[in-house]
Point group: C2
């Protein structure tokens, strides 16, 4: 016997009705939040010229560009790529068709993306990516809006136990240039040891002065205090004040519902962020629900702030939408009565042939002359 999964390539799967209903409900809830906050949706295409897509991914994301499926377009004889990330497409739209639109420009998107190779942490190669980009600003106010919006979207999707982990993607560069000098050839090694949180390696790499950074992590208030102590020369002061303001905004907005943590040296997934990055978590998810931060649009160098949510991933932890009452419409039923029920939010399934059993078809009710009658659950 062929098993259903044998029919699909690794990392690609069908979403059957229950799972698809969770994804659709989470998607609509998140998109409605973005729409309500003034973000206008745009729809870029699935495919672009590879050179254009890769060129819009900042240098540090070259790995991402290599992750795209590519093929020759018989129409242009040029190489096309299937997008692995929608963010660069939004940057392109902001820099071309919407370059004269007033700033700050708020854009939202939602669509499928595909990577050629799954990561060890996440076997999925297709992802339903949803996000918001605030073009023209990378200030504390912009970052606060992005974090608040992401938290509100996750809450609207029904997630609980939301937490936000802040990071400072350019921390080592900033410290190395001012407070804790490093030779240019030491910077990469120090970053690498901080990434792996290896105290011995950090010392060996000449980064002993960076050791306290390993301990400036955890709940926001205490981690920030630890980071302020590291920052003897005040090189980080404006960044740390910014983090504090963002945390205060989020705290005020969410009444403390979203827990905030700080991991200032976390760089994974923030290769193209500038001074601020954040990762979103929620109860029931083994992996991040999304991430975001401030950045510069590749090509135009315009400042921007945004975030991405992985809808199919977060839908795993979203509540199953309440099933609607489902009414069986017998042959010869009253069409107007059925239409009225649908207008009131009921679902209907019409009988097509003799011998159909309403309960087998998942119906909870049957339409009778006097209206819908509840079906006895089967014994």
């Amino acid at each position: 016997m062929t098993q259903p999964n044998d029919l699909l390539p690794e990392g690609l799967e069908d979403r059957l009705p229950l799972e698809a209903a969770r994804i659709t409900a989470a998607m609509r809830a998140c998109l409605d939040v973005l729409h309500a906050h003034g973000y206008d949706r745009v729809r870029p295409p699935l495919l672009e010229f590879e050179a254009s897509l890769a060129g819009r991914m900042a240098g540090a994301v070259a790995g991402e560009a290599r992750a795209m499926f590519r093929f020759v377009d018989p129409a242009s004889l040029r190489t096309l790529a299937l997008r692995s990330d929608i963010t660069p497409q939004i940057g392109r739209i902001a820099s071309t068709s919407l370059k004269d639109a007033p700033r700050p420009l708020r854009l939202a998107y939602c669509g499928d993306t595909v990577v050629i190779k799954a990561s060890q942490l996440d076997p999925a190669r297709e992802r339903l990516q949803l996000g918001a980009e605030l073009i023209g600003a990378d200030s504390v106010a912009a970052a606060s809006e992005a974090v608040m919006l992401a938290v509100e979207a996750l809450g609207a999707a029904g997630l609980t136990g939301i937490s936000v982990d802040f990071t400072l993607p350019d921390l080592v560069d900033t410290l190395a240039a001012k407070a804790l000098p490093l030779a240019p050839e030491q910077i990469a090694a120090v970053r690498r040891e901080l990434d792996t949180k290896d105290a011995g390696g950090l010392k060996a790499a000449g980064g002993a002065a960076y050791l306290p950074l390993l301990y400036a992590t955890g709940p926001f208030a205490s981690a920030l205090a630890a980071l302020r102590e590291v920052d003897a020369g005040g090189a980080l002061a404006s960044r740390l004040d910014g983090l504090e303001a963002i945390a205060a905004s989020v705290g005020a907005m969410s009444d403390g519902a979203a827990r905030i943590t700080l991991d200032p040296t976390e760089r994974h997934g923030f290769e193209y962020q500038s001074w601020f990055g954040f990762t979103l978590y929620a109860d029931g998810l083994r992996r991040a629900a999304g991430r975001g931060g401030t950045y510069r649009i590749a090509g135009s160098d315009e400042p921007a702030t945004g975030f991405t949510l992985y809808l199919d991933r977060l839908a795993d932890a979203a509540p199953q939408p309440e099933p609607a009452r489902l009414v069986f419409l017998p042959l010869g039923h009253d069409h107007a009565a059925a239409a009225t029920l649908r207008a009131l939010g009921w679902r209907t399934r019409a009988q097509l042939a003799e011998g159909e059993d309403p309960r087998t078809l998942g119906c909870t009710h049957i339409l009778k002359a006097g209206g819908p009658a509840e079906l006895e659950p089967r014994q």
Copy 2:
């Protein structure tokens, strides 16, 4: 200067906010209709093994299979294809994961599809396909439900002047086998001349007896009467009775709002349909809004009925959604008041920095202490 369109391959385009809003509104309206009628959404992946996708496209749709972008999957070393049609994927799901689900099984879908080569009639290579499939039935009742559902979906999307053109995809085969015999080698030629509606060619091809079919087209009642006259031996009687019953159902449902026509020899786009096919049109659309019909699922040979709508295409003729009132939230605004407005259906845009002009940002109102105040339109 690079023009924005130079950045995208032929037949692929960005949908900017106004157009994207029309597509989103039409999509939700159509999906809500399918959901209300008991169709459960599923989400198959963008990519599959080419052999699996092509094998699910019935023989006659080999052209469609050739229309897919293909590339080698480094994970499996097998050829993958980017789907050009979601219908075969629904057939696969119905025959595998949902093979034991009770019939009739009602499934809905909506997603992006891509063809490698545009047609002369439609330069788009990416299409947003939405549809419904009724698995396990290809009866008159099933066909009536599919047509009614499609018409209701188009109406919900705001289209007007909806018309449905019925066809009988296996008409020539049926007549050739019984009432108007043709030698096997004549059938293809007669079909071809009927396709081009060439009376002279039809006679030359030995299909003189088929000439009246060229005139059995147009408004449903008169075309059906003409077709009944052709059907001297009654070979088509059950099909014609079926068409009449479907037309009566649609007429009753739509109060005659949907015009019905008949073009019994139309085969283009119906290569995999069995006895019944239909094409949907609406005011303001140069091309069809969608099509559907009865068919057998390739592989399992299970009977099914369904239809497809091309959302991006039909959104061209859908009304622009009423813009929501858009409130500018000045620095230091009352967050609770803003949240209340959003809950009431207003959209908000928050000020990020000094010097922003609410009207430049598209706002119609500004939040003041007493609530939202309308902004004077700029002179």
